[in-house]
């Protein structure tokens, strides 16, 4: 056994969950009876035996430095018995068992500039992915768009209420590392130019058959490239008219990059949900096929989302999620209300296209 492998600890898994618990969780585990939302960002959970825990949720950038984490830990030490948690949407929750600590905790969080909110019928944190900060395939940045959108919508996080939750997600490419395919509103990075092909290095860095197989539309074909010396070198070619810019070829083959300043941008989607409450989970549907990539603040994207939130705020009924609302009023009405153009891109032309056509005379007139 090599030196490095000696005494090596592997396959231990994560720390057991209960090693992280404070008493107010340990003692009440599984005994919860009900909860109340005291105000946006503040929850009260009560057990069958009358014990309580108060939770204060704050907004977080999930791209977070250890300096920031240490600051949060300090607050948890001061108020929460040395525990905090992260939510499934990357917010941070501070809990206190003792109601008397609630107001001081809130005051401290506010003093430190934190936004308290994100619970109930409003807008919580945007689930997002890497963008230009880390990934190799993004069409857009992630953190910058999230910041720009949430700056605009912050009041729905900490203050203003909506008919129901509006979950916003972002994924920077069609791999969709966030659950953007089932969000009330989603922001998706899209490419619009077919891959470049680096014939002179493709054979070295890519497997030809797996790359061909990677293309969902069979747009990729073998190709014999003639190099400078006039010799035939195996490579690939793309039938650009069959390409829908999914980027799966690039995932398999580094010699086929898609990213382009003009080609890349944002598509917006609407009406998805995950919960089983009332309606079954739904996919998000195309709202805007393309908006330009406009760092640092993506104003077109921010405006369009704001408009989407506002028409929903005006039109939906209590408890009605975005997609439920649109189902009730009809897509034709929604497009009219929101004022987005309806294009051929909105009409599905992929595998299940036919199931989305309107096979009924039931519709509303909108002109």
């Amino acid at each position: 056994m090599s030196e490095v492998m000696k005494d090596r600890i592997t396959d231990i898994g994560p720390p057991k969950y209960d090693t992280m618990w404070p008493d107010y969780i340990k003692d009440n585990y599984g005994k919860w009876l009900y909860h109340e939302e005291l105000e946006p960002g503040v929850l009260k959970h009560v057990t069958e035996t009358g014990a309580t825990v108060f939770t204060v949720r704050i907004a977080a950038t999930r791209l977070m430095t250890t300096l920031h984490i240490r600051d949060l830990a300090a607050i948890a030490d001061e108020f929460c018995g040395g525990t905090l948690r992260f939510t499934t949407r990357n917010n941070v929750e501070f809990m206190v068992a003792d109601q008397s600590k609630l107001e001081p905790l809130k005051a401290r969080l506010k003093a430190d500039g934190h936004l308290i909110g994100g619970t109930g019928a409003g807008i919580t944190n945007i689930v997002h992915t890497q963008g230009w900060v880390h990934c190799h395939t993004p069409a857009i940045d992630a953190s910058g768009i999230v910041k720009s959108v949430m700056d605009e919508l912050a009041e729905y996080f900490h203050d203003k209420r909506l008919p129901a939750k509006v979950r916003i997600s972002l994924a920077c490419c069609l791999n969709m590392c966030g659950a953007v395919h089932c969000s009330d509103i989603s922001i998706l990075g899209v490419h619009r130019k077919p891959p470049l092909i680096e014939h002179d290095r493709l054979l070295n860095v890519c497997e030809i058959p797996t790359t061909i197989a990677a293309c969902p539309t069979a747009a990729i074909k073998p190709y014999n490239f003639e190099d400078e010396k006039g010799e035939k070198v195996k490579s690939l070619q793309v039938n650009a008219d069959r390409c829908m810019f999914c980027g799966n070829c690039y995932t398999m083959c580094p010699a086929m990059p898609l990213a382009d300043p003009q080609g890349d941008g944002v598509a917006l989607w609407v009406g998805g949900k995950v919960s089983n409450a009332r309606s079954m989970p739904m996919f998000s549907k195309l709202a805007v096929p393309f908006l330009p990539n406009t760092p640092p603040r993506w104003p077109e994207t921010v405006d369009a989302i704001k408009k989407m939130v506002e028409v929903y705020a005006d039109g939906a009924r209590p408890y009605e999620r975005y997609g439920e609302w649109i189902q009730r009023i009809g897509w034709e009405t929604w497009f009219k209300l929101v004022g987005f153009e309806f294009t051929t891109h909105h009409i599905d032309d992929y595998r299940f296209a036919m199931t989305t056509w309107r096979s009924s005379t039931q519709f509303r007139f909108t002109d």
């Binding site: 069609l174 969709m176 395919h181 998706l188 899209v190 619009r192 130019k193 077919p194 470049l196 092909i197 680096e198 290095r201 539309t217 650009a240 008219d241 829908m244 810019f245 999914c246 580094p254 010699a255 990059p257 382009d260 003009q262 598509a267 989607w269 009406g271 998805g272 998000s284 549907k285 195309l286 096929p289 393309f290 009730r328 009809g330 897509w331 009405t333 497009f335 309806f342 294009t343 051929t344 891109h345 909105h346 009409i347 599905d348 032309d349 992929y350 299940f352 296209a353 036919m354 989305t356 056509w357 309107r358 096979s359 009924s360 005379t361 039931q362 519709f363 509303r364 007139f365 909108t366």
Partner: protein
Amino acid sequence: MPLTHQTPLLDELEKGPWPSFVKDLKRAANEGNSDTANDLLGQLELSYKQKVGHWKHGGIVGVFGYGGGVIGRYSDSPHMFPAVEHFHTMRVNQPASKFYSTKALRTLCDIWDKHGSKITNMHGSTGDIVFLGCRTEALEPCFADLAKAGFDLGGSGSALRTPSCCVGKARCEWACIDTQDLCYSLTMTYQDEMHRPAWPYKFKFKISGCPNDCVASIARADCSIIGTWRDDIRINQDEIKKYADAGFNIEKHVVGLCPTKCITYEGGTLTIDNKNCTRCMHCINVMPKALRPGTDTGATILLGAKAPILEGAQMGAVVIPFLKLDGSAEEVEDQYRELKDFIEKLWDWWDEEGKNRERVGELIQRLGYRAFLEAVELDPIPQMVKEPRSNPYIFFREEEVEGGWERSVEEYRSRHQA
């Protein structure tokens, strides 16, 4: 003639309350002296015994100058059933919505008694009068007699099939369009398309006067034309009161079942939020004396319905939400022309792009709505879909992308080390 085959199994089908085709066939054989009916009973009994049909595959027969209208059929056991050795059908184009003067009916019977088996289908699934059981040599004389009597054949093969329609304005208060007139107009304009198959596959028109769709067009017509209106449902509040007084539960059966919940019934008055009404007909159906479709009428045009072969069944999908089809005779001619222009654009595209045995609906599936809409020169509108696409596989086109698709690897690599 006496029946020459034992038919113990078929005889079972003479019993019971529902009318018996066996009785009728026996009568044709017996009383009507149809040896064809006699041998048909014999062969059918054999099928009942063996649980399998006894007709040969296909057979190309027809009348001069027409590519369709006749389906060739031969017995696979002519040694046993010589009178059905040839058993072709002729599809005779029915009058729109199937009213018949008894004179016309008797003329048809006379012709068929003279040339054929005495057996018919009133009517075939597409809508034709079907003469069932003709010998090859009888086809042409039968056709000549039909033509003299003012009848013509319907469609078969890769051609326009016989259009058909609901009873419409002839006896239905809900007909928003003149189904019979439009059916007749399409049939007459496209005689050539019906009789001389030249397309990738069949094409069917069906026309219903309102969204109840009594001719089931949305399930089985490449082009369904369904009457509708775009103004307000007419309400007679007095009649509403009478329904209520008669104990009819308007809240439960009308308001509660409206799919868009756009009806309110308060203080004995019924109100409809017409902008949200999707003209499903339910409220009108259940209170016919009190409610009527609006008066600004026309049709919704849907495309693509078909049976499952090859890629699964399709229903018609909206392509034109409203085409005005209502007015003076002249206006109507123009409106028909507009519809026909659209249809002809569609056919041209299908003719050009369609594969062998590919229906219009399948072609739209294969090439996508964008190609289709461009070909027929329509703009995309949300009324065409139940919901927009949920997959992110958008085929952007080069012309909509700034800078186009031409890019240079060198330029790219100058900014990005590999």
